[in-house]
C-alpha cells in the first residue's frame, strides 16, 4: 500500500489550513508531528474521506480519494475525540459498527472476539461504554478502527489523556498492527512519535516542514545544539539571545541547552549531539525566523 499526496490544499473561507502538502506514505508506522492547530487533524480527516480537499491530489495505490466507495473499505479511523453510545455494551458497539462496515455476520463472529482479545477487552465485552476508563475506551476505539481489517489505519492523537503506562501499551498495540499496513499516528509529543514511527512528517501552520526518516530529523539541528552553564541572573539575557531548549537550575547556576547558529558567547558552551526533539525545534525556530525550509 502506498499513499501519494500531491500539492494538497485545504481552505476554510479565506484561511488556508493546509498549504501545498506533498507526501508519500508507505507501509509501517508513520508519524504526523506538529503543534496544536498545525493541520494534522485536517490532514487525517481528509485521508479518512471526512473532508474534501480544496486542491491537490491523493491516491491510495493509484485509487483517487474521490472514489469513496473504493477508498472506505481500505481505511480504519480513530478520531481524537469520540465517545461511542454510552448505554451500549462493548460487544454490541462492535457489532453495530461492523454492520455499518458491511462485514458479513460469519466474519464478524470470528473477527470481533479476536480484536477484543487483542486489545484485552474480551472479558469486559458486556460492560456498557459509559463504565470504561479512558484507556479502555481508546483500546475499544482501535479495535473498532480495525473491524474491516483496513490497509490504512489513521489514529489521531491517540494518547491524549492517557497515563504513561497506558500510552506505552497503546503504542505497542499499534506497532503490532503495523506490520502489513500503513498506520498514521498524529501527536504533538515528539517522544511519542519517536518511539514508534520510522518515518515522520512535521507540520506547522498548514505547512510541511519536514518529511522523511525520524532519525534524519535530528540532523536538522546538527552543530547547532550547545549545553552551557550560566549564573541564574543571566538567564533572562540568554533567553533574549538564544533559542532555549531546556533549562535546569542548580544552586546559583543554571544548565541550559540552546539552539544557535554560531557558538554562544556566554558560559562555557559544549557542542552536543542533537536529538529528534532538537531537530523538530530547529525547524520551528527557522520557520519563526522566516527562513525558507
Amino acid at each position: 500500500m502506498q499513499i501519494e499526496i500531491t500539492a494538497l490544499k485545504k481552505c476554510y473561507g479565506g484561511n488556508a489550513v493546509l498549504k501545498d502538502i506533498s507526501l508519500t506514505i508507505e507501509n509501517g508506522m508513520y508519524g504526523l508531528l506538529g503543534r496544536n492547530g498545525a493541520g494534522k487533524t485536517t490532514l487525517m480527516r481528509i485521508l479518512s474521506t471526512l473532508l474534501k480537499p480544496s486542491g491537490g491530489k491523493i491516491t491510495f495505490d493509484s485509487i483517487p480519494l474521490e472514489e469513496t466507495k473504493r477508498i472506505r473499505p481500505l481505511i480504519g479511523y480513530l478520531p481524537q475525540e469520540f465517545s461511542l453510545y454510552p448505554d451500549m455494551p462493548i460487544l454490541e458497539t462492535m457489532r453495530y459498527l461492523a454492520a455499518m462496515s458491511k462485514i458479513p455476520v460469519e466474519i464478524q463472529r470470528e473477527r470481533i472476539p479476536n480484536l477484543l482479545q487483542q486489545v484485552n477487552l474480551w472479558e469486559h465485552r458486556k460492560i456498557k461504554v459509559r463504565k470504561l476508563s479512558g484507556g479502555m475506551k481508546r483500546r475499544l476505539g482501535i479495535a473498532q478502527a480495525l473491524l474491516n481489517n483496513p490497509k490504512v489505519l489513521i489514529v489521531d492523537e491517540p494518547t491524549a489523556h492517557l497515563d504513561p503506562e497506558e500510552r506505552l501499551r497503546f503504542y505497542n498495540l499499534l506497532d503490532e498492527f503495523s506490520s502489513d499496513r500503513i498506520v498514521i499516528v498524529s501527536s504533538h509529543i515528539v517522544a511519542d512519535i519517536e518511539s514508534v514511527c520510522a518515518n515522520v512528517a512535521v507540520l506547522d501552520s498548514g505547512q510541511l516542514l519536514y518529511a522523511g526518516a525520524i532519525d534524519k530529523l535530528a540532523e536538522k539541528a546538527m552543530g547547532k545544539v550547545y549545553e552551557l552553564i550560566i549564573p541564574k541572573n543571566e538567564l533572562t539575557a540568554a533567553k533574549q539571545n538564544y533559542y532555549i531548549l531546556s533549562s535546569q537550575g542548580h544552586l546559583s547556576d543554571t544548565k541550559i541547552r540552546v539552539l544557535a547558529d554560531s557558538i554562544p558567547t556566554i558560559g562555557c558552551p559544549v557542542s552536543c549531539v542533537p536529538t529528534t526533539c532538537d531537530g523538530y525545534m530547529e525547524l520551528l525556530r527557522l520557520l519563526k525566523k522566516g527562513v525558507k525550509i
Binding site: 476554510y12 484561511n15 489550513v17 503543534r35 496544536n36 492547530g37 487533524t41 485536517t42 480527516r45 481528509i46 479518512s48 474521506t49 471526512l50 473532508l51 474534501k52 469513496t68 472506505r72 473499505p73 481505511i75 479511523y77 478520531p79 475525540e81 469520540f82 465517545s83 461511542l84 453510545y85 454510552p86 448505554d87 451500549m88 454490541e92 457489532r95 453495530y96 459498527l97 454492520a99 455499518m100 462496515s101 458491511k102 455476520v105 473498532q144 474491516n148
Partner: protein, 469 residues
C-alpha cells in the same frame, strides 16, 4: 441490512422520548377510546348506541335536511347572539382553532346594523337596546332563585324525543351565575327573512368579522345541525353501515385512529430527532461517516426502524378492545372484521407517521440541531384539520391527519374515499421525497461536502492555537 435494522430498533427503545411517546399513546387510548368502547357496550339498549338493535326494526328518521323548527330556532338564536355582539362590539372568532375577540370599525358596525334590521325588522333603538318601550317578558322568581336542569337529568324515548320530568328540575336560591334578563329575548322579535337569505347574511357577517367566526357556516353546523357526533338516536342507515359495512370493528378502528391522530402528528418526530442527535452528542459521526455502508442504507434503515417502532404500540394498543368486540359479537352472532384495526391503522396512521418522521429526519440531518422540534411543534399547531373535519368524510388533499370523531359516518367516508386515498398517497409520497433529500444531505456531509462541524472545529482549533501562542 436486517441486522442493522434490528440494532437501530434496539437503539430506539433506549430513548426516553420513545417511552414518553408510548406513555402518551396509552393515556390517550385509555382515557378516550377505551372508555367509549366500554360505554357503548354498556348501553346497547340505548337508541343512541351504535350497537342498538330495534326490536320492531324501526329506527330514527334520517331526512338529511333540517326541520323547519330547527331552522327557525337556529335563526332566532344566532340573531340574538349577533345583537348581543353588536351591542358590545365584541365578536368571537377562531382564527387558528382558538377563540379570539374582534372589535369592528364604525363602518362595519353600521353594516351589521343593516343586516340586523333586515333580519328582525326592528328599529335601531331597539337593536341598540335603548328602547324605553321594550317589554320584559322575563319571569322573576321571588327570592331571586331559578329552576335549573342539572347535567345528566332527563331521558330519551325510543323515538329519540328528549323528556324532562318535574323531579329533574332543581330550585336554586341564588341564581347570580345564571343569565340575566338584560340580554335580548327571542320572543321580542320575529325573523323576517327566508332561511336561504339568512345564510347569505351570515356569510356576509362572517366576512366582516374574520376567519371562522361564530357566524360561519362551519360553526353554525357545529352548533345547530344534527350530526352523528352527538348522541342522537341511530338511524337505519347508520345501523346497517355499522353491522353490514363496518362489521362493528371498522367503526371502532376509525375512532381509535382518530383518538391517537394528534399524538402521531407530533411525538414520532421527537423519537427520530433524539436518535439522530445521539450520534452528534456521542461524537459517533466521525466513526460512522467513514464506514463502508452507503448513506442511503443508513438513512433508510434508521427511518424504517423508527417508523416500525412508532407503529408497534399503535398496532398493539387496540388488541384489548378488539378482543372485547370479537367476544361480544360472537355472543350475539354477528360477523366481525378482525383485520379492520390493522387496515385502518396502516391506511390512516402510517402515512402520517411516515410524514412526521421523514420531515424531522430531513431537518435534523440538515441542521444537526433541535430545529426539527420547533418544526414538529408548528406542524402540530397549524396543520391540524379544521373543526368542520372532526366528524370525518370531509377530506382535504393536504390534511396530515384524518379525523373521524364518531363511531358512525361510514357512508360519509365512502362518499369521499377517492380524496382520502389521494391524500394518504400524497402524504406518503412527500414523506419518501423527504427521505430522499435526507439521503442526499447525509451523503454530502459524509464526503465533507457540507462541513459545518469541521468549520466549527477549525475555529475552535484556531482559537486554542492563538491562545497558546
Amino acid at each position: 441490512m436486517k441486522r442493522l435494522f434490528l440494532m437501530e430498533c434496539r437503539k430506539t427503545t433506549r430513548s426516553v422520548l420513545y417511552w414518553l411517546y408510548i406513555a402518551a399513546l396509552v393515556i390517550t387510548v385509555f382515557q378516550n377510546y377505551e372508555t367509549t368502547v366500554e360505554s357503548e357496550l354498556r348501553q346497547t339498549d340505548n337508541p343512541a348506541s351504535v350497537f342498538y338493535i330495534a326490536e320492531n326494526g324501526v329506527y330514527a328518521n334520517n331526512t338529511g335536511k333540517l326541520s323547519e323548527d330547527t331552522e327557525h330556532t337556529m335563526m332566532i338564536e344566532v340573531t340574538k347572539r349577533l345583537i348581543d355582539n353588536y351591542r358590545s362590539n365584541s365578536y368571537e372568532y377562531y382564527p387558528f382553532g382558538y377563540v379570539k375577540r374582534k372589535t369592528l370599525s364604525e363602518k362595519e358596525q353600521a353594516a351589521i346594523l343593516l343586516y340586523l334590521k333586515e333580519l328582525t325588522g326592528l328599529d335601531e333603538p331597539f337593536i341598540i337596546g335603548t328602547d324605553e318601550n321594550r317589554d320584559s317578558e322575563d319571569i322573576q322568581i321571588s327570592g331571586g332563585g331559578a329552576f335549573v336542569l342539572n347535567p345528566g337529568q332527563g331521558g330519551t324515548f325510543e323515538n329519540g324525543q328528549f323528556i324532562i320530568e318535574p323531579e329533574d328540575w332543581e330550585y336554586v336560591e341564588n341564581n347570580s351565575g345564571l343569565s340575566q334578563s338584560k340580554e335580548i329575548s327571542g320572543s321580542e322579535f320575529e325573523i323576517q327573512v327566508t332561511f336561504d337569505r339568512f345564510k347569505e347574511i351570515m356569510d356576509c357577517v362572517n366576512n366582516l368579522i374574520g376567519r371562522n367566526s361564530y357566524f360561519s357556516r362551519t360553526m353554525l353546523s357545529m352548533y345547530y345541525y344534527p350530526n352523528d357526533m352527538q348522541d342522537n338516536p341511530i338511524t337505519e342507515q347508520q345501523h346497517r353501515e355499522f353491522y353490514e359495512k363496518d362489521h362493528v370493528t371498522g367503526a371502532f378502528a376509525r375512532y381509535f385512529c382518530d383518538s391517537i391522530s394528534l399524538i402521531v402528528l407530533c411525538l414520532p418526530a421527537f423519537v427520530i430527532i433524539d436518535l439522530l442527535l445521539k450520534d452528534k452528542r456521542c461524537k459517533m459521526n466521525t466513526l460512522i461517516y467513514p464506514r463502508t455502508e452507503s448513506s442511503a442504507k443508513i438513512i433508510i434503515t434508521r427511518f424504517e426502524a423508527v417508523s416500525c417502532m412508532i407503529m408497534l404500540p399503535v398496532l398493539i394498543l387496540p388488541a384489548k378492545s378488539l378482543l372485547t368486540l370479537v367476544l361480544y359479537c360472537r355472543n350475539i352472532g354477528i360477523p366481525v372484521n378482525i383485520f379492520a384495526f390493522a387496515a385502518y391503522i396502516f391506511a390512516w396512521i402510517f402515512p402520517t407517521v411516515l410524514f412526521v418522521v421523514s420531515v424531522a429526519l430531513f431537518v435534523t440531518v440538515l441542521t444537526e440541531n433541535y430545529s426539527a422540534v420547533l418544526l414538529a411543534g408548528l406542524i402540530w399547531l397549524f396543520c391540524r384539520p379544521s373543526v368542520d373535519k372532526l366528524a370525518g368524510g370531509n377530506y382535504g388533499l393536504f390534511d396530515l391527519i384524518i379525523r373521524h370523531n364518531t363511531l358512525k359516518g361510514y357512508g360519509r367516508m365512502m362518499e369521499n374515499i377517492h380524496m382520502l386515498i389521494l391524500n394518504r398517497v400524497l402524504v406518503s409520497v412527500i414523506a419518501i421525497l423527504f427521505v430522499g433529500f435526507a439521503i442526499i444531505i447525509y451523503d454530502a456531509k459524509r464526503k465533507g461536502g457540507i462541513a459545518i462541524e469541521s468549520r466549527k472545529s477549525f475555529n475552535n482549533h484556531r482559537r486554542k492555537h492563538s491562545h497558546e501562542l
